[in-house]
Amino acid sequence: MAKDLVEFRNLETHFQTTAGTVKAVDNVSFIIREGETLCVVGESGCGKSVTAMSLMQLIESPPGKIVGGEILFEGEDLLKLSKREMSRIRGNQISMIFQEPMSSLNPVLTIGNQISEPLMLHMLLDRKAAKKRAIELINLVGISRPEKIFDSYPHELSGGMRQRIMIAIALSCDPKLLIADEPTTALDVTIQAQILDLMRDIKQKLNTSILLITHDLGVVAEMADYVVVMYAGKVIEEAPVLELFQDPQHPYTKGLLKAKPIINQKQERLYSIPGQVPNPIDLEDNCHFHDRCEFCMDICKVKQPPFRSHGKDTHKSACWLYEEEREVL
């Protein structure tokens, strides 16, 4: 198995709001391996973006704060780095593409200018070398006539092209990890497919690890090697992709998979499970899913299920259904 690239260890990110503390990310642990695509899925508000932003250390503070845990990147704890050391890693070793390609590019700077910027900053290329590399990158993300695009402004490009440019910028310094936070949500379906193809293509060629955040189980089926399912700030199940689709354990995951996505076919938003995501403020120490779960037992309401494997090593989940000790209590 490939080496570990990033390891989240008991990460806790909280937001202080006037209504109370929001535990947006609560004791989250998982591992991203080299050359692997890891998908994080879950309903809106479950803490996917906050997990990614914690890794980049772009949590706005206040109100947000990483209150505990470690994020190991190649064995080094990112949370212990100084601001300066961190900004050397950002955009260089770890880069990120955002959901909104329309607003992620600066409207008054040319595309070329924006692609060259990280090259000149992190790779210390001069203007000419940066331009050459930028044009290669524009080519790499499948846009024809790169010289012309180099001198264009963002408003002259379509949404799909802008997202390709964002990918080009993210790839400019050969990052080891590419974080993509719902990179295709804002695009129409055919363009979505093209962007995903492009990302898969790039992963193969450059051996970049990808942390892909998505709502779309179709995307997961197509892209992921490994899946992490989050619910109310916690990881409730993780498994290799085939394993998860064939043998989901947690009732929440089963619910997600109910409207079975067919592999290689696009799927609308997640099938919605009856009930509401719990209020994230001051959650109790129980299974946060209990009020929506059809298998809910007494213990579920008072005690948190441990997160561990039940059988296969790589497949873990947190649910009392699979625990023996539940009778004891």
Binding site: R90, G91, F98, S103, L109, E117, G142, I143, M161, D201
Partner: protein, 307 residues
């Protein structure tokens, strides 16, 4: 390398070509605004008059001839002469050079200070913002004319040479005006820094200096242009007022303000209108023209107005 990635084809491009750049749109809107165009023509005329006109004058700035003093406009002296027999037209044109120059240089200083401080305040927020904006409040609370008068008097007291006074004036007027621009720029930066593309620069690990000067400030150029245009008029008026009071540009260097003050007695004022009407008209035309341009630019650069 990307052979198996479907390339985006040209049709998207041709569609994009029809879209104008923001600058072209603004130009089109500006040229449609009649008043703004009139203002622009007026200001171009003033510049030609002041910077090229003197080259064709048969007279000399220092041609004193007391026998020609206080002549009414005639064939030789088109706008008459002053009490030292100097040609009013020539003096008016040379005064224009100085007034326009003071306006432009003072505005450059205003823009540099105002844009930088406003951007820094908006970008960092919190303590830095508070500090800068409270200083701005103090500057704004001070009435500018009395301050200018005091500083002008200090210059006179320090016996600054008349020819170097205008440089001090430029700096003083420029520095005193920074607050309006700083406020405008700060307001813009506050909304801009929350935009997604700024989060993207953060994710690229860019340095603060680059974020402010390369990514944020260029986005505020429309606001800066409008404010700067209007501030040129303000600076020219300040200079004229000071010179009129005898503490701005002082004779023998001519300026529109001190030319008017030459007509400061009732006899000159009533009997010799050629002394004060020409420079007065120049001040009026210039400031009206600049304000028309400023309003035109504001409409042209405002993304909210359509067409």
């Amino acid at each position: 390398m990307s052979a198996d990635v479907m390339p985006i084809t040209e049709n998207k491009n041709t569609k994009a070509k029809a879209v104008d750049t923001p600058w072209k749109t603004a130009m089109r809107r500006f040229t449609r605004n009649k008043l703004a165009v009139i203002g622009f023509i007026m200001i171009v005329f003033m510049f030609i008059l002041c910077f090229i006109g003197p080259l064709f004058s048969p007279h000399n700035l220092f041609d004193y001839s007391l026998k020609n003093k206080n002549l009414a406009p005639n064939g030789t002296y088109w706008l008459g002469t002053d009490k030292l027999g100097r040609d009013i037209l020539l003096r008016m044109m040379l005064a224009g050079r100085i007034s326009l120059l003071v306006g432009l240089v003072a505005t450059c200083i205003t823009v540099m200070i105002g844009a930088t401080l406003g951007a820094v305040a908006g970008f960092y927020g919190k303590l830095v913002d508070n500090l800068i904006m409270r200083v701005a409040d103090i500057f704004m609370a001070l009435p500018s004319l009395p301050i200018l008068i005091i500083l002008g008097a200090v210059l006179s007291d320090l016996k600054v040479h008349p020819s170097s006074r205008i440089y001090y004036l430029m700096v003083i007027i420029g520095v005193l005006n920074w607050t309006t621009l700083a406020r405008l720029v700060r307001g813009q930066i506050l909304t801009l820094r929350e935009q997604e593309f700024m989060q993207a620069t953060e994710a690229l690990g860019l340095k603060d200096k680059r974020k402010i000067f390369k990514h944020l400030l260029p986005n505020t150029i429309p606001v800066i242009i409008v404010a700067a245009t209007l501030s040129v008029a303000g600076a020219i008026l300040s200079e004229s007022a000071l010179s009129f009071l005898g503490i701005g540009v002082v004779p023998p260097t001519p300026s529109w303000g001190n030319m008017i003050s030459a007509a400061n007695n009732l006899i000159d004022f009533r009997k010799r209108p050629w002394l004060w009407i020409p420079p007065g008209m120049c001040i009026l035309i210039t400031s009206v023209a600049i304000n028309l341009i400023g309003d035109g630019l504001r409409d042209a650069l405002d993304p909210k107005t359509k067409k």
